[in-house]
Symmetry: C2
Subunit: 199 residues, 2 copies
């Protein structure tokens, strides 16, 4: 049976490797690219090339950057006494978008995950400890999420950091904003209870 | 507020120009591309470049091709007495995938569309008429769909072709396969009635 020419099939296959793109979306995208003459193809190629060549990880905190130090580490208004440790570079943006944190970050890069073969010994924690010993923050906030692997990672990291007589905290658990009790599971609700605030 | 570095934002913007990709999918794709080292980026770049440079339209029928003549027009087993006229190149594949047509195609390229400013005079019909006069098919099947613009195009094209004493047909309208009467609208049902077949 006749199909698209090989060049088009290759692009469909490459697109299907991406998340959120199935065979039908890949075909729609191809048809768009074949018909368009607004430069989308050129912009895509140029940005992919730049992504490949220009994006690196900040040598201090591990966030995405185009320079040795990222925008945040270059910002003199940041409060160096507060470290927020996250697992993935993109988690930095999640915290940034709250507007509620003016300290600096440290990206761990992975969490303890027996399924993926990441033991506590694999955790790249040496760089974090060096930074803490050198920069002497007042508080280290572990912003790891609440799945079992993230909690195991937080426990492990906090035990190491506490040997250094440093304040270690983690994100509060409780009800999500704008939600009623009827949607909360009992584990979340018990955390919300034990973490209750005086009004 | 801190955001992704400019290079990443550029790629997100380029991805958002594509159909079926919104801001969240674009971000998921970026995160995948930043982490992956399986060569997806390189394959995407290479296929985009090839799409740009290698894909052309068949000089005879107008289907996508990497050579002056497409796979179908190069196939000696095709029945040259039957022309199937479609509006878009991708419609060729739709018909091919049925496996029910062994003739050759002609891609019109556009339909009459007052909203987009395409009048009957804009229809690139001269090339189709030249082909018909030269190749003398027995039947021309108009496979245009059933929206108002497609039907107007079919009417216009059929009037021109009938002056040449040629058999002109269009796709049957009726019930879709695997569907009950309860889902059919009354227009479709009236076409299914008037086009009924003796068993």
């Amino acid at each position: 049976m006749i199909d698209f020419p090989p060049v088009i099939r290759n692009l469909i296959e490459a697109l299907k490797e991406l998340p959120a793109i199935g065979p039908r979306s890949a075909e729609r995208i191809i048809l768009y690219l074949l018909e368009e003459n607004k430069g989308t193809k050129q912009r895509l190629m140029a940005s992919l090339r730049e992504l490949e060549t220009k994006i690196t990880l900040c040598s201090r905190c591990g966030f995405y950057s185009e320079e040795p130090l990222c925008q945040i580490c270059q910002d003199p208004s940041r409060d160096l006494l507060y470290f927020c440790v996250v697992i993935h570079p993109v988690d930095v943006l999640k915290i940034e978008r709250t507007g509620a944190f003016r300290g600096v970050y440290h990206v761990l890069g992975k969490k303890i995950s027996p399924l993926e073969g990441h033991t506590p010994e694999d955790l790249p924690i040496a760089h974090l400890i060096q930074r803490i010993d050198r920069e002497k923050p007042r508080e280290v906030i572990l912003a790891f999420g609440t799945d079992a692997e993230a909690e195991a990672t937080a426990l492990f990291v906090s035990q190491i950091l506490k040997k250094r007589a440093i304040k270690v905290s983690s994100l509060a658990m409780g009800l999500p904003a704008g939600s009623g009790l009827e949607y909360a599971d009992s584990v979340t609700l018990s955390y919300a209870l034990s973490g209750r605030r005086e009004l």
